[in-house]
Symmetry: none
């Protein structure tokens, strides 16, 4: 155990105020107009305290967004209809439209991920892995009732779903019901014709 260090202990209240202020700034201005000085002022915190917790702007963004927002939308319920479940989950993940807070935070996270490879690793571990786990469980359940093929490539499925939504959000296109329906349909039925290589 190592909790018994001398000196004042770190203020969890400051940490939370920083994360909240960060999310507000991200939604309002986006990643690269983000200013740590404004965040510090808004959170009522010294700049040094931000640096004590987070080594860089991108690390702060990763932490602030991954914990405060994206993880909320990551549960994938089982209603018996796997297509409907996926559709619902995709639309919740993307948020209401290109101007929604969700969309702004996804764009900010993407920019942070693009900038910094440690953030990329964190994103991989905190989002992709979690989503994959949830999706794998849901697909397994679907296999039991014959809705899903037993050899479905889970990783490719996860990344194509997340990546596609990400692309829509980055290019500011709406993640509409029509688009999601097409995507799910594509996912389940494929585009293979009569002459395509047969299922193994």
């Amino acid at each position: 155990m190592e909790t018994a260090r001398p000196g004042r202990s770190r203020s969890e209240a400051s940490r939370l105020a920083i994360l909240e202020a960060t999310r507000d700034e991200l939604v309002e201005r986006g990643y690269d107009k983000l200013s740590l000085e404004r965040i510090a002022a808004a959170a009522g915190v010294g700049k040094q305290t931000i640096y004590r917790w987070y080594p860089s702007k991108s690390a702060l963004v990763a932490e602030g967004v991954l914990h405060g927002h994206l993880m909320d939308h990551i549960d994938l319920p089982d209603t018996g209809d796997i297509r409907a479940d996926l559709t619902h989950w995709l639309m919740a993940f993307a948020g209401a439209g290109p101007e929604s807070d969700s969309a702004a935070l996804i764009r900010a996270t993407s920019a942070a991920t693009a900038e910094d490879e440690t953030v990329a690793a964190r994103y991989e571990e905190q989002v992709t892995v979690v989503v994959r786990t949830a999706l794998r469980a849901r697909l397994t359940a679907g296999m039991e009732v014959g809705q899903v093929r037993r050899d479905a490539p889970v990783t490719a499925v996860v990344e194509s779903l997340v990546g596609t939504v990400l692309f829509r959000v980055l290019t500011r296109q709406p993640v509409s019901a029509e688009f999601v329906a097409d995507l799910v349909s594509l996912l389940f039925s494929g585009i293979g014709g009569s002459d395509s290589t047969p299922r193994v």
Copy 2:
């Protein structure tokens, strides 16, 4: 006509030097560590000259990357084997690995797209549309020979392919032959089981 203005005409050499310096900087440092002053110095050009051509950093990046790099990889040849053609195209688009110049430029473009909605619009128009056109032609050819279903949702296909690769690149994962094979297989065969909703 407006070419008959008095005064010195703009230097095409300067413009090209700027774009080249921009790409070098992007590959080396990424989007948000990009410095117009360094670009100007590297290109042997005054800062004002950059601003004469491009109104903002993101516009410069959009121009520099979209024309100089991404468009190179956008042709989609027809060898008769549509799966192989798509596989080849996807891997060429992503570049050799997460440290390749291609990957760095894709990340930079993603960050620029995330930041600036006019860049997003330009990306949509210059990449998505072009890819969609090329892919639509290839899919149509595939339909003729029975490799592709006649009702394949082209937009969803395009965006799921581009988005998936983008996601791999952003999270610094390799776009390996195995992954691409899984992705193409998913695309053609779907994951639907015996009890999934029948094809329309």
Copy 3:
């Protein structure tokens, strides 16, 4: 000649605004509470512009004070009465009292001189030498009329006058008429008694 450099030429107006703001700050707050950020704001100037002209805080202070203030008091008129001339000059140099602007600027210059040896060199060259020259002329005139011994050690005279006033100002004691009278009397008559070593 080398005045024909490319680029915008430096703004003399900025330079003067900086010096004026510096003097105001020095009088109001003193040397080590001096803030370049406040000076820049008061002068309506970017911080970088200050650094472009002056390499350090102490250099700025030296320049600002030596040119803007101390040199004003350095002329030593000749009314025929050398004691009165010196008395008048000493009191003018010190300013009205320990709270006067002159006193504040002398204290600031002393602190800057104590901190930085290049400022010390500048002080030596810009104040000591000038004062010595003026005083030497006045003493020479005094010698002509028999008011001053021909072998008076000019350097020691200069530095003891300036140093004594400096000491009074640093310790916040008034440079009163009584004190100055004593000092001048000491200077002219010495403290030697009947048994002191005879004049050479």
Copy 4:
């Protein structure tokens, strides 16, 4: 009596370690680059402990320097030759040269005195008064044997000696034997010529 309080008593060892560390820092870096954090670390002491003893940086410097250094040189022995005694004392006070520890501490004290009027008061009380007392005794002795005039202005003598040496040290000039000889000669003989106002 107050030694019988509960709790740990204040550590005299800490206080001395603080003063020693302060002197080391002053000699090495000068007054305004002085850092209480470095002093605390060097003394193996918490910052709060310093603040418990000294209310401000300048108070610490005053205490540290006035007690630890300057007072060492303040005794003014009587060998019978008052000129030699003064010469010796002046050179000891100034230290070996502009780079000596003594010179550095004198500069630091001057800066602290310039900054803070409570330090100025303390300096006045702890240095000037003591020196004046010692010098008055020596001069009185000199008067007895006819080496010094009976009406010598002691305050002016003290401050002109201390101030002159201070000026030499601030401007980084050596307090050489030649200079001191000139100064003492000036002090005893004055510069008055045959036509100067007669001694009162």
